[in-house]
Amino acid sequence: MKYIDEYRDGRLARSLAAAIARAVDSSADYRFMEFCGGHTHAISRYGLEDLLPANVRMIHGPGCPVCVLPVGRIDAAIRLAERREVTLCTYGDLMRVPGSYGMTLLRAKAAGADIRMVYSTLDAVRIAVAEPDREVVFFAIGFETTTPATALAVRLAADRKLINFTVFCNHVLTPAAIQNILESPDVRELGRVRIDGFIGPAHVSTVIGTEPYAFFAQEFEKPVVVAGFEPLDVMQAILMLIVQVNEGRHEVENQYVRAVKPEGNAKAKAEVAEVFELRKSFEWRGLGIVPYSGLRLKEAYAAYDAERRFAIAYAAARDNPACECGAILRGVKKPIDCKLFGTVCTPEAPMGSCMVSAEGACAAHWTYGRFRDRVRRAS
């Protein structure tokens, strides 16, 4: 397919790998975090780690929307779906995320709850129009990429004066999470995670642009390179990061120039600003309570806010104590460090959120990476 296949050329990837090998300073160590789950997936799927020199390591970040949703929010959605009048609509990934006591939306559906998987927020609006007797709630999650879609659905519902459509909003913000990681004790005091630079998200940046990253580059002196999701994009971004580190620079650069503009998508940002406002804080799986990291509906759209309509009281809940998703999301541990990985926790029966979505570090490693582990052990 045009604009995709060209960026998957294996021959070019190998020569880029040679360019990277030439660029690295053999006496130095390079550790880069790819924030976004899309990149985690690409790195695993195309085996990019095998193409990198041994002193260049990639640390998987928390940019997988399904992974960072805390158990308490899943529990709240399940309780909501169990209400007789409610039809809960959501993206497919969320169906299998475990809440407390191993309960999932899929199991709640099997037990009789009216839960429907949708591909777009507009499908949920359509259901609300077609079934006026049902209280249709859209269980909204995601970073800046999915938030505009939710904003448009709320505005459409308002235009049509729908009284049976609401949104259970769990939208979160990328810059807040990056800042949280950089300020975390793991990075700052304990030194358990060293990060020399970031690969900035692809689709998120099409919306917010490259400007929001300037703060991290300056304040924390970390280079950020926004990259596309194809393997050559990621390789080139790694090369750009290495060059910046070698030259002692910490700037925001854009590898994904074919899709990302410095200012992002003005229309999408305006839609989001119209409907949503910042929450004072929001809980993330792995990162804990992060200030000003989540969104909620503005007062003007309160009628479309499921948390208000159904008086959803948020109660934090504990992860499975053996599950290492939290540490994996902070970059402290790797999937294979978790004793649940590949034993009782697989994509078919996930115990933790990182095993659910294809963007999750554990699912990506299970699907692609574990075979390399075996080769490595055998050799």
């Binding site: 030439r22 927020t121 080139q236 074919r258």
Partner: protein, 45 residues
């Protein structure tokens, strides 16, 4: 979300919505850079 999109344009679609247009010039420039980086590396034994 991309008001200036026309028939024949390539767009990045996320959960059913176009987020941005693919800029042909930007795409070409990236490929040229990649080829250049590859060629430079290839010249070294």
């Amino acid at each position: 979300l991309v008001p200036d999109a026309n028939v024949g344009d390539y767009v990045v679609v996320h959960v059913g919505f176009a987020l941005t247009k693919i800029d042909a010039e930007g795409a070409r420039r990236t490929l040229a850079l990649l080829a250049e980086a590859g060629a430079a590396a290839g010249a070294v034994p």
